[in-house]
């Protein structure tokens, strides 16, 4: 028996997720419509690459990973069931793939590093930037590039889940419920996660924001 190709108004009453136009595009992909898939890739490519770039810190890796995400979506098309917004489903796949990639890299290096630990090799570049910036003398106004580096370092200092929650909330403007769906957490857990993340960011960025300057080294 052929599957239904059109979503009717009564369908959207039964399943509100079907109101999401991207879910409907995905249902067309499920029916074998490759043009619908191209449409999804076009509309999500920048958002996905942008998000992954902040997770893997490299444009080429971010694009490779984003491509892997889209191909995984395509491979999963036949089993697709619209239970959540398309974006939350897509970003959940991206989050899982990014975590797997990170784990694989960790295993290859055979050195376990937590994102907020420096590890046996000393501070990582992101941590070094913060340390170097705070050691500069005299205090002076940060230029745009320097501020960007500092913010970047502060973001890299968060653990993976905190970073992802911050990025989804800041740049995807996702609600706590949608972030919870993406990260497979309750909204209350997302609230705590984001609160801790923002506390960490505040702690690292406050000296730069408060005065708009590089903090002076008190030791000299």
């Amino acid at each position: 028996m052929p599957e239904r190709t059109n979503v009717t108004l009564s369908d959207t009453d039964e399943n509100p997720v079907l109101r999401d136009p991207d879910v409907r595009l995905m249902l067309r992909v499920k029916e074998g419509d490759e043009a619908a898939f191209t449409e999804l890739v076009t509309s999500y490519q920048d958002r996905l690459v942008g998000l992954l770039y902040h997770l893997v810190s490299n444009q080429e890796s971010a694009e490779d990973l984003a491509q892997e995400v889209f191909l995984k979506v395509y491979r999963a098309r036949q089993g697709y069931e619209p239970t959540a917004k398309f974006a939350t489903w897509l970003f959940r796949i991206a989050s899982n793939l990014a975590s797997n990639r990170r784990r694989d890299k960790g295993r290859k290096r055979e050195v376990s590093l937590r994102t907020n630990d420096s590890g046996p090799l000393g501070p990582r570049p992101a941590e070094q930037i913060l340390a170097e910036k705070s050691a500069l003398m005299p205090a002076r106004q940060l230029d745009k590039t320097e501020l960007r580096e500092v913010v970047r370092a502060a973001l890299d200092g968060l653990n993976e889940r905190q970073r992802l929650a911050v990025l989804l909330h800041k740049f995807e403007e996702m609600s706590y419920i949608d972030i919870g769906t993406t990260l497979e957490m309750s909204p209350a857990a997302v609230k705590s996660l984001l609160s801790r993340a923002r506390d960490n960011l505040r702690e690292k960025l406050e000296p730069y924001i408060h005065y708009g300057t590089q903090p002076a080294d008190n030791g000299e």
Binding site: T38, D46, V49, Y53, E63, L71, V151, S195, R202
Partner: protein, 168 residues
């Protein structure tokens, strides 16, 4: 100087949720009351808000111009092998070879089973000679008897069950 009370973990979490517009009306009113009477809370909200804004300084990376094209071209690779696999000449040849090899293996197995069965259960010439050995050994005496009825009587009485004694 008056000591400023610290905020609880829950209050801090609620401050963030308040900034994010994620609190219900009642909880939002409670936070507004806290903000009205606590300088610490106001400073906290201010700093959280400003550090949140500064995240906007992060670079916004976009996909390269060929990203969609590269990704969609991968679909051809994903789809192609399944569609064309069975029509490839090498697959047809391999399939014919596989069928032939299967039949050959089945025939060889049958031959082996047949040979083994024959070898195991069908008596050979040597087996038959061994079975007839008592008669062969007494062939000369038996032929002198001349009458088959007499031999049957002897067998009835168990004469042939006795092992012949070897002459010294």
């Amino acid at each position: 100087m008056q000591k400023i009370p610290r905020l609880s973990t829950e209050q801090r979490e609620n401050l963030v949720a308040y900034l994010d517009g994620e609190l219900d009306e009642r909880a939002a009113q409670e936070i507004e009351q806290v903000l009205a009477r606590s300088e610490v809370a106001r400073h906290e909200v201010n700093m959280l808000s400003r550090t949140w804004d500064v995240l906007g300084e992060l670079p916004r990376v976009v996909a390269s111009g060929t990203f969609t094209q590269n990704t969609v071209s991968q679909l051809q690779v994903l789809n192609a092998p399944r569609r064309e696999f069975r029509t490839q000449p090498w697959f047809q040849n391999a399939r014919r070879g596989g069928v032939f090899a299967g039949w050959a293996a089945a025939l060889a197995l049958s031959a082996w089973v047949g040979y083994s069965a024959t070898n195991r259960w069908a008596p050979t010439e040597a087996d038959m000679l061994l079975d007839d050995l008592p008669i062969i050994e007494q062939y000369d005496q038996l032929t002198e008897v001349g009458q088959i009825e007499f031999l049957r009587e002897l067998r009835k009485h168990g004469t042939f069950n006795v092992q012949p004694t070897t002459p010294h």
